[in-house]
């Protein structure tokens, strides 16, 4: 965990003081609604359906047990005892009062947390692999680099008023778990001639115009990273469209200019600053690395998992959880555990204050007091001794936190939707729950195998529906909620090791294709069930995943089965869409 030094601490405290002053001026009528709006957004505060919503950053998804306890405190004291993890490694409180926001932020500053730039048209919280630092397939540890980017982007004087929001994701592993292909900038670590650096993808993103990022530089050496980011942002700040908010993201600029011209403009700006004061030095990297407390792993070489074999054999429920929720750790004898926040009946990504406290205690008892948040809205206990997994599982089961569904159909990524969000066209949470109820047979869920089902309540795509193997988008038609289905999306954007031959492709990220007219809310679970039936009937074996089948046969067979189904076809035909 990165530990703040005096300067880091002072900056977040000074930011709280600044925001307290701004809030005060607003409440006293000395700052207009318009002038205050962007200032509060850049401190994480939205005005939502029921109340303000406060989004707190969990930089690159990493937090300590102390911080999680503090979030629980905030939830109890200033909110209604729960909060929501977002798809960008942030946490949201749904019911704070504007007047309390400065005090909440002051409380968070005492545990080295903040809400700086969690909203607004600025550089947002940098995200990464939720197994960063513990993954077995890591090329570099992205945590240090994420912290370097956090510092560089925080309170950045030039890029606080960009045309639109700006999101950076970093992958340090061979397998991309950070969805770098669908970020404004995606950085993929790689090594070239003994020097490590980053492959830079620009212009990916979801929303109204979903696009996969384009490779604009195949290798930026580590020491040039910040000046290269600065040059990229400068081109965007100067030339990104400001006349139309729906065309203001960097993806539109890259598309309009073409990736080649965009890359050339970045190079022109880069030439002016390359090698300058923001060049990263080896001393700086090690100074940052030294401010992290790194886990002191024990030597557990004798334990390669044999200690739990008898539990796996004797207890099928444990074995099932082990299969989906446990991930290989870089250190022998340790495992990383995903605590699913996707139990049926609780909104995806929601967590109660009591659960926060318990998980913080577990992080202390079973690990090194560290936790991660995934963009799939789950919590990770990164460093659990493999031999302790069974007792951890027993504890989690009692708390309904051991749902064995990570990577499965019921691990639904979903935004808060129309129940909370004022932008939403349709609800998300009740639809997610209805699907989870439809798939309540765990044997069947595991039989289906790996499947990403993502759900957004509107075009803004906070639920990442475009990159779900199955995506569901809520749309509004004459005041009614309808749901559009896409198939074939993929969130992973990094190159596979065997695709070196084509370094220009960023292989895996893909945007799903719409299968046809939308469905009424009540139909959605049946439509999903129908799609699954089709998949199971045409897969070649149980290793051929849903997404593999879509890749092999396309969306036609699925489409046909769904729209031929007399029950499903009936009402959907009443609503034809012009944009399909």
């Amino acid at each position: 965990m990165y530990i703040y030094d005096e300067i880091d601490q002072k900056l977040v405290e000074q930011r709280v003081a600044q925001f307290r002053g701004q809030t005060q001026r607003f409440l006293n009528g000395q700052l207009s609604e318009d002038d205050f709006r962007v200032l509060r957004l850049q401190n994480g505060l939205y005005i939502q359906r029921h109340a303000p919503m406060l989004r707190v950053a969990i930089p690159y998804g990493m937090m300590t047990s102390t911080q999680l306890h503090a979030l629980a405190y905030v939830a109890r004291r200033w909110d209604r005892g729960y909060a929501h993890f977002t798809t960008r490694q942030n946490i949201q409180f749904n019911w704070p009062r504007l007047e309390d926001a400065p005090d909440i932020l002051a409380k968070l500053a005492t545990v080295q947390m903040h809400a700086i730039q969690t909203s607004g048209n600025c550089i947002r919280n940098t995200t990464t692999d939720h197994f960063a630092g513990v993954a077995h397939d890591e090329i570099i540890n992205p945590l240090v680099w994420c912290e370097i980017i956090r510092q560089w982007s925080m309170l950045h004087p030039e890029f606080a008023f960009l045309p639109r929001k700006f999101k950076i994701a970093v992958s340090g592993s061979v397998t991309d778990r950070a969805a770098i292909g669908v970020h404004d900038i995606g950085l993929q670590a790689l090594e070239s001639n003994g020097v490590f650096g980053f492959r830079v993808f620009v212009g990916g993103g979801l929303g109204r115009t979903p696009l996969v990022g384009k490779l604009i530089n195949p290798f930026v050496a580590w020491y040039d990273l910040l000046t290269y980011l600065q040059a990229t942002l400068r081109v965007y700040n100067l030339h990104g469209r400001r006349d139309n908010k729906y065309k203001a993201r960097i993806k539109i600029l890259v598309k309009d200019l073409t990736p080649e011209v965009f890359a050339q403009q970045v190079n022109e700006q880069w030439t002016l600053i390359k090698g300058g004061a923001d060049t990263v030095t080896a001393e700086f990297v090690s100074a940052i690395a030294d401010k992290f407390t790194w886990p002191s792993y024990k030597q557990l070489q004798d334990d390669d998992g044999t200690s739990i074999v008898h539990h796996l054999e004797a207890n099928p429920a444990f074995a099932r959880w082990f299969r989906t929720n446990i991930h290989q750790h870089k250190i022998s004898g340790y495992s990383s555990v995903t605590v699913s926040l996707k139990a049926t009946g609780s909104p995806p990504g929601d967590i109660t204050a009591d659960q926060m406290d318990v998980l913080a205690e577990m992080a202390d008892n079973y690990g090194f007091g560290e936790l991660r948040v995934s963009h799939e809205q789950n919590i990770i206990l990164p460093d659990v001794k493999t031999r302790s997994l069974f007792s951890l599982w027993q504890e989690l089961s009692v708390l309904n936190l051991a749902t064995p569904n990570v990577g499965m159909i019921t691990n639904i990524i979903a935004c808060p939707g129309g129940d909370y969000c004022s932008l939403a066209n349709a609800v998300s949470i009740p639809v997610a729950e209805a699907i989870q109820k439809k798939f309540d047979d765990l044997d069947y869920v595991h039989e289906i195998g790996e499947l990403d089902l993502n759900l957004s309540g509107c075009m803004n795509s906070c639920g990442h529906h475009h990159v779900g193997h199955i995506g569901i988008l809520g749309v509004d038609k004459a005041g009614e909620e309808w749901y559009q289905i896409t198939l074939g999306g993929r969130q992973s954007g990094a190159l596979k090791p065997d695709t070196k031959a084509n370094p220009d492709s960023n292989a895996n990220a893909a945007i799903g294709r719409v299968i046809g007219p939308s469905f009424a809310r009540e139909q959605v679970p049946d439509v999903i069930a129908r799609l699954i039936k089709t998949y199971l009937s045409i897969r070649e074996s149980d290793v051929e995943r849903f997404i593999d089948v879509v890749d092999r046969v396309g969306i036609e067979p699925f489409k046909k089965d769904v729209y031929m189904d007399p029950l499903l076809a009936k009402t959907s035909n009443l609503v034809r869409e012009s944009n399909v």
């Binding site: 300067i7 002072k10 900056l11 000074q14 930011r15 600044q18 701004q22 001026r25 000395q30 207009s32 002038d35 962007v38 200032l39 048209n121 510092q151 560089w152 925080m154 309170l155 950045h156 004087p157 030039e158 890029f159 606080a160 008023f161 960009l162 600065q230 400068r234 700040n237 100067l238 030339h239 400001r242 403009q265 022109e268 002016l272 600053i273 300058g276 004061a277 923001d278």
Partner: protein
């Protein structure tokens, strides 16, 4: 001069703004302002009438709009501007959410080596001067409704910075 007119921050102090913008549609049909103090012309006028504006007893200030594209074939004009005898360069912020002026300031300071006064005008507020100062502005015309004294204080909002290639705000040098 009454206190409330002092809405210009310059040299770390509050002062009165005396610059006035030259109107091309003026009654006398002048192409450029008369050679008196405190005239400001747009960059377009400066480009068009450089020769007329040279060798003045009272050099003009030049106003750059936020949507001027330095790359768009006018790079040499910007270069010439930064080497000519002018009073100051002002960059307009039509709305405080239009952040182009920050990058333009960086380019003027670093790529074009402008070392004279650089003024932020337009939708400039208490809450923007700190970042503007870091990007190279050293004078600020605070918009109506915002207390210029608070804006002056806001130049000290943060005591430290992360980005190494951006300057620290000019310190208040009043005793």
């Amino acid at each position: 001069m009454s206190e409330e007119c002092k809405n210009l921050i310059r040299d770390g102090q509050l002062t009165v703004n005396e610059l006035q913008r030259f109107d091309v549609n003026n009654e006398q049909a002048l192409l450029v302002p008369p050679d008196d103090a405190n005239w400001m012309v747009t960059f377009d006028i400066w480009v068009e009438h450089q020769a007329l504006l040279a060798d003045r007893q009272f050099p003009v200030a030049v106003l750059i709009a936020s949507d001027v594209d330095f790359d768009d074939g006018i790079s040499h004009q910007v270069q010439a501007l930064c080497q000519s005898d002018i009073a100051l360069i002002a960059i307009d912020f039509p709305s405080y959410t239009d952040g182009r002026g920050y990058s333009l300031a960086q380019l003027l300071r670093n790529a074009y080596q402008w070392s004279g006064e650089l003024r932020a005008v337009g939708d400039v507020m208490i809450d923007t001067v700190y970042y503007q100062a870091r990007c190279g502005f050293d004078s600020f015309l605070i918009k109506p409704g915002h207390d210029a004294q608070l804006a002056l204080d806001a130049l000290h909002t943060f005591s430290d910075t992360y980005q190494k290639s951006y300057r620290q705000p000019v310190k208040n040098n009043t005793p």
